[in-house]
């Protein structure tokens, strides 16, 4: 039984986890950096321990300090939230080694799904379609050319150890391949200390559809339906919704089955998300699995009525799932807007500062996840999310209209925000139709930047 838990995170997700803990009679311990002393997660927790200074590497990423804080305060468990140490297998393993419960999957699962090559191989073994490309690292040019001729163009070369766009090369036709391959390798070596790259088919106009999975330590796996996270700016999700409006029943069935099959195949044992890419023909491919709770989990909670954090904590204690797949139903539609402190007029640059005034919407089926309050300061060291605004509606259109109203009511002063941007997005024909792809946000942003009213008032 978990009686006391340390939440190894900050901001709204720490607060979100603590809320469920309080409901479950679990004493909460917050950690914080010296920059977060006045943060709400610190005030809200039963206890709070400073684990280092402002830079994440010496606080929220500092494993030893966090472990010592958990042990010294007598915790039974650590919840990692998302980001920071949430997908760090070494940390998960360390938590278990010191005799605490890691609220998340077993360390070996984090390791497996965190390794792109191993994860792909596991999916191939489970007969889940993956994006066509090289399974392992591609070392020489001739092999790269062979794979390229199999999968066709356009394709993308990525650093095996990489991320964040570094060591990535987009190749539109054969003539560009040699040069791109060499450049990607060099950049990968320079950035990540490894020249390993792999090759994949590159899709445009794709939908990002992901399936929420919950599994226990007894081999039970259920899905909580899917989310559509195709509204992205530079691979950052901005608006998420559940369920995915663009799926046919057959497509939905397939993707949900694939996700459960994939989770079962690797013996998954916690809350996780399997991300799929859907191409223009409706074909879905496994992209990756996130072995943690996700930012956008509330939209799934809104349509299923299930507290995902609660189930995650129960499963971490070894309890079996309190329901079967048949018990889980979805109702209506839910949308989440990530309200960030960023200046949309200067290319969405983060806009840290103090919230001088904040007025949030209430009303039926409106939910807000935040750790911000009037007078609180958004430090420049971490992410710039102020709050998540979530609404539910009987129909998708009702949810869209409710979100527009909620955005109209939401006022935040003192920092730049993307509230107006969200408001405009929710009026676009493409968004309302629900068929928008991951390319859409950048097109819309370009378009809006030529509109005088947008420039003048945002």
């Amino acid at each position: 039984m978990i009686k006391k838990m340390l939440i190894a995170n900050r901001g709204e997700i720490a607060v979100r986890i603590m809320r469920t803990c309080k409901e479950m009679n679990i004493t909460t311990v917050a950690i914080y950096s010296s920059a977060d002393e006045e943060s709400y997660h610190v005030k809200f927790a039963d206890e709070a321990i400073c684990v280092g200074d402002a830079h994440a590497s010496s606080s929220y990423l500092h494993m030893n300090n966090i472990i010592m804080a958990a042990l010294n305060s007598g915790c039974d468990a650590i919840h990692p939230g998302f980001g920071f140490l949430s997908e760090n297998a070494i940390f998960a393993s360390l938590v278990e080694q010191v005799g605490l419960i890691f609220v998340g999957p077993s360390a070996h699962l984090i390791e497996l799904m965190g390794n792109k090559v191993k994860a792909k191989q596991a999916m191939i073994d489970a007969r889940i379609p993956i994006i066509p490309g090289s399974v392992g690292a591609v070392t020489d040019l001739s092999e790269c050319q062979r794979i390229a001729s199999q999968i066709g163009y356009p394709l993308i070369i990525k650093a095996a150890a990489g991320g964040g766009g570094k060591g990535m090369r987009l190749v539109h036709e054969q003539s560009e391949l040699d040069q791109a391959f060499q450049a990607a390798k060099q950049e990968a070596l320079a950035s990540f200390g490894s020249a390993e790259v792999y090759v994949e088919r590159y899709f445009t106009q794709t939908k990002h559809v992901e399936v929420q999975i919950i599994a226990d330590k007894h081999g039970h796996v259920v899905h909580l339906f899917e989310r559509d996270c195709s509204f992205q700016r530079r691979h950052q999700k901005v608006i998420e919704e559940a369920p995915c409006f663009a799926l046919t029943q057959t497509q939905r069935k397939k993707i949900l089955n694939d996700a459960v099959k994939a989770a079962k195949a690797v013996g998954y044992d916690s809350v996780g998300t399997i991300e799929f890419l859907m191409d223009t023909s409706g074909q879905t491919y496994f992209m990756e699995m996130n072995t943690r709770i996700q930012v956008e989990h509330p939209v799934t909670e809104m349509i299923t009525g299930i507290d995902i954090i609660k189930i995650m904590i129960l499963c971490a204690q070894g309890k079996p799932l309190p329901f079967t797949q048949r018990d889980i139903t979805m109702k209506g539609y839910s949308i989440e807007c990530r309200i960030n402190a960023e200046n949309i007029r200067s290319n969405f640059a983060p806009s840290p500062g103090t919230i001088a005034f904040m007025h949030v919407p209430f009303g039926p089926h409106v939910r807000i996840e935040t750790a911000m309050y009037q007078g609180a300061t958004i430090p420049p060291y971490y992410d710039s999310m102020i709050l998540k605004l979530i609404v539910w509606g009987q129909t998708r259109l009702e949810a869209i209209k409710r979100m527009r109203g909620a955005l109209e009511e939401l006022l935040i002063e003192g920092v730049h925000t993307n509230i107006e941007f969200h408001y405009l997005v929710l009026h676009q024909k493409e968004f309302i139709e629900g068929r928008y792809t991951t390319d859409y946000a950048s097109v819309l942003i370009k378009e809006l930047n030529t509109v005088e009213e947008f420039i003048r008032t945002t």
Binding site: L411, Y423, F454
Partner: protein, 296 residues
């Protein structure tokens, strides 16, 4: 902070223009005139429904407003007990005072009555009565030949069946369009009242606003009991006419029901809410019921 909300409103309005969200022009809507009642005395408003349920007595100042004959019957006798008499009769078309027929026609239309009085039989708290109700909405409840005839017939009907008589009076007086014929009705109704009286039958006149002219000078003052609603105008000639004739100023409440009570012309002033129960009490009393038996 108030400013921030206004700024946002402006911004959203700008966006709506940008997004081509159609802005409706909303035409003003009229308040239906049968919903609100404004009191003529205190000028305060209440809903018409509240006012009606309060028996057309102002909920603010207690002013008793005019009641149509049909409404009066509804609030005065046992539910469904009223049987109208001679209600097919209409005033002779031979009377040709200018515009008279036209005015009659309009009054019939607006009141849905044939004349300014409704007469018939009814029961009040189980007591059979002969009842007449005048309607001031019909040419000011003025007494023409038919009004006089109907009242006379009613009184005679009461004599024949030995019914007590109740008359709700509301009238501006004799009907000038009928000239001498209308004045004739004063004598006619008066002799009928004498007959009723001589038969030892009980009669109550309920004077309501206004009771004036030839009506107040004939049957209206000839009941065994004369009741009135509060503040009703009760008199013969107009106050201004009298002041000019006698060259004297008159008391401020001259010709009010309260003044009439002081001077002994009126026996009781009864609030409209108490009128029906008071009449029931008086009917019982007239038959020899004691205060004690009435109380039960």
């Amino acid at each position: 902070m108030k400013n921030l909300f206004e700024q946002r409103k402006k911004q959203i309005s700008g966006f709506k223009t940008l997004l081509n969200v159609s802005k409706h022009l909303f035409a003003k809507k009229e308040m239906p005139n049968d919903v609100i009642h404004v009191c003529a005395t205190c000028h305060k408003a209440s809903t018409l429904e509240h006012f009606q349920r309060n028996l057309r007595v102002c909920v603010h100042c207690d002013a008793h407003e005019r009641v149509s004959a049909k409404d009066r019957l509804h609030m005065s006798v046992d539910e469904g007990s009223f049987k109208p008499l001679w209600n097919q009769l209409t005033t002779s078309t031979k009377l040709d005072f200018p515009d008279y027929q036209k005015k009659l026609k309009e009054a019939r239309q607006s009141t849905q009555l044939n004349e300014a009085v409704l007469v018939g039989e009814a029961t009040l708290d189980q007591h059979p009565i002969a009842i007449g109700v005048m309607d001031a909405n019909f040419m000011m409840g003025s007494m023409g030949s038919l009004v006089g005839e109907l009242i006379t017939r009613l009184i005679e009907h009461a004599c024949e069946h030995r019914y007590p008589l109740i008359l709700y009076v509301a009238s501006g007086g004799a009907r000038m369009q009928e000239g001498i014929i209308s004045l004739m009705q004063m004598a006619k109704t008066t002799q009928a009242m004498k007959k009723h009286h001589d038969l030892n039958l009980f009669s109550i006149m309920v004077l309501t606003h206004p009771t004036t002219g030839g009506v107040s000078a004939s049957f209206a003052m000839l009941g065994d009991l004369t009741l009135s609603e509060p503040s009703a105008l009760i008199g013969f000639a107009g106050k201004r006419v009298i002041e000019k004739t006698i060259q004297q100023s008159l008391p401020s409440h001259f010709q009010s029901a309260e003044f009439g009570l002081e001077q002994g012309f009126i026996d009781m002033i009864i609030h409209r809410h108490e009128m029906k129960s008071t009449l029931a009490y008086l009917l019982l009393w007239s038959k020899g019921g004691t205060h004690e038996t009435i109380r039960v």
